[in-house]
Amino acid sequence: MKITDRINRVDGVEKINGTARYIEDIKFENLHYGRTLRSEISKGRIKCIKYPQLPENLWVIDANDTFINQVAMITTDMPIFADGYVNYKGEPIALIAGKDKNEIIRFMKNIEIEYEEEEGIFDFGSGDNIFSEQEYTKGDLETLEYDKVFEKSYSTGYQEQLYMEKQGLVGDFSDGRLIIYGSMQCPYYIKNALIHSTGLADHDIRVIQSETGGAFGGKEEYPSLLACQVAAASMKIGAPVRLIFDRREDIVFTTKRHPSKTLVKTYLKDHRIVGMEFDFGIDAGPYLGLSDVVLQRGILSLTGCYLIENLRVKGTTYKTNNIFTGAFRGFGAPQTLFALEQHMNQLANHLGYDPLEFRRPYFVKRGDISSTSGIYNEEIKLDEMADRLAEMAGYDKLKEEMGSYRGIGISFIPHGGGFTGDGEAEHIKSVVKLKKDTDKNIHILVSSVEMGQGAKTVLSKIVASVLDIEIDRIIYENPDTLLVPDSGPTVASRTTMVVGGLLYKAALRLKDSMESDVEIEIVENYKQPDYVKWDQENLRGNAYMSYSWSAVLAVVEVDPLTLEITCKDIYAVYDVGMPMDEKTFIGQVHGGIAQGLGYAMLEVMTTKDGLIEHNSFSSYTVPTIVDMPRMHTDWILNPYKEGPYGAKAAGELTLVGVAPAIASAVENAMDIEIKELPVTSENILKELLI
């Protein structure tokens, strides 16, 4: 087959007819169920826990049952079970496990916990309670000559991944060996966390992904916590233990997108931007987890598609007693790029320019010096994308048609593929294997998971195309760490570009041996492209090895009476190098637009004393089919030399540009300034009353 062939998903049929097996569908002998005993307060010491008489067939698993009571993510600051002290409402204290769910619930009703409560911290950004800070500069702001400063603050709220399949894992310990099954993005993150927490040897731990019903970042680091818990439980009981959240638990107590506050200051001379300053803060909750990495992607994206000569960027994570925040498609960039793009829009309005034409002179080009003083290595076609977008949408005509209560807004977004800087080479060190068996079928052996995004289809297609064989000769099972090498986590839009790139090389090496009758295994190790130079200490160099780009235009209408917002159209042009499979790519585009639209105007999530108030599908409203705008999408071809068949990152990019475009469109419709996400009728009213 060829990479340009139109194909159907390789995992479609079993999902459509309902035979695909998710963790809740899999049977285990002698299965015990776990339920989490959670803190009822936000901060304080646990004075004592009074358990009722424990029936013979129930178990309490807590900090005492762990070898090391830490969840190793990037940091190890989060305990598996709170040990005498709690830091947020809902923090796990123990797991109650048994074979009868009703008995567990009855038992849990009679548990009494006495606390010595302390005052929690729920606000962030004041300069207190700093967890971590990162800073970088470019050029010189100190001696800058300018005649005007334009300064605005922006904020964004929580967003919940709301994958349709809730978090769930099973831990099964027997004969000295531990197996974890379940819904996850990163089998090796879980394995490494278990090596740390259980004290078991590497070869006694095995992690097997089951069909995963959506993840969006929500199953990146969080399942490591659950794995440590079910491991401890199974090791204590000696039977498989299953922990599957109910929906309220899943919404309220798992990681969210970080709420953020961004101050943007632009220095102008003769109506031109000569320098910018950013101060970005996020609420990490009580444990750092991945937050410092999210912060980094956020601040490294902060100048977006624009060449800014003089720059000061500061990012801060704040420690609070709110819910623990973490990975979600976009990973810090949706927050910073909302701030940047709103700012650019408001600046254009302020100076009296068209928002599209205002941006153009600042578009980065190949050879330009990036915000982190690296050199843009690849061809960048932002002007071409802007032209295409304007043509598709009929920009000039559309602009004239807009009037009161109808508006258009645009955004231009970069997204760096793979880990930041030299992360792929220094930390991830991806390995892939290709095996040709004696029947001449090809096995893809990687730790990248299929979670809906189409990894199985795209990676199989790349290998089949290089080998020029039919795709049904490719076998790509859900990863099992016993069988697959560590190709890194399924995150950061890296699967097609990085893992696919390695498989492409492995397939090229295998190609000449396809006729042989013996089994052949090819191993391919990641090698960093020569041009990537990165100084992690000072955040200097090529922040990403390549960038994907989007140009988005939104058309909205606002109801004059109710101020209800309707997004009528989204026009979007993408540069993802070469899309590997058009249908899969467009699926990512549409899904990303839906989540971006939710983030922009529907998904309101607030807390009270650290507890999420929007805790169900009826109160946390994600887009349904009737909320979707008409989507007009296109892409330009711009092959990336290091990517397989020229592919770059695609998955996250598609979400990021939607919210700023919609927010700008609302500004345009209502002649107000939007500085907060999500944009709701209430927010519009507030602005109108100012």
Binding site: I16, G18, G452
Partner: protein
């Protein structure tokens, strides 16, 4: 107590409580795992089955309302000719990603097709608005269903 009903064409009996959810009975007592629990409050449509030919959220359906009735789950429906057309349209349009909403979406689609009348864009969208999909952005699903409604109506 013993509840008798018809499940995917067969007469069945099950020892259960009248307040038990149909969803749990089909998943646990009959081991039919294609019907999914998404939200457990009747908002997401992942658990849709047919009850006497009408689509219902099985998470909201107590067994009391199932006595003597006919239930069809995705396992039963996937044996039909009509299912094959839906599967094909979903495959060709790319209407499935993570798949967790998909069996419910298929049942909701059949709910629309069964009407046997030509449907407007709005009819289709309203008809599918009880099914949440967090992956696809709905466009491919909409296209698949539109195509099906056109073909089915033409054929019938």
């Amino acid at each position: 107590m013993i509840v008798e009903f018809k499940l995917n064409g067969e007469d069945v009996k099950v020892e259960t409580g009248l307040a038990m959810r149909l969803l749990d009975v089909i998943r646990n007592d009959f081991d039919l795992k294609g019907t999914k629990e998404g939200c457990a409050e009747g908002e997401c449509g992942a658990c849709i089955v047919f009850l006497d030919g009408m689509i219902v959220n099985s998470c909201m359906m107590p067994m009391n309302n199932v006595i003597g009735k006919e239930v069809v789950t995705i396992e039963g429906f996937s044996k039909t000719e009509r299912y094959k057309e839906i599967e094909k349209a979903f495959m060709v349009e790319g209407a499935v990603q993570c798949g967790f909403c998909t069996p419910g979406m298929v049942m909701a689609t059949e709910g629309l097709l069964k009407l046997g009348i030509s449907l407007t864009e709005e009819d289709i969208k309203v008809g599918l608005s009880g099914n949440i999909c967090r992956s696809t952005g709905y466009e491919a699903i909409y296209r698949a269903v539109r195509k099906l409604t056109q073909e089915v109506v033409l054929n019938d």
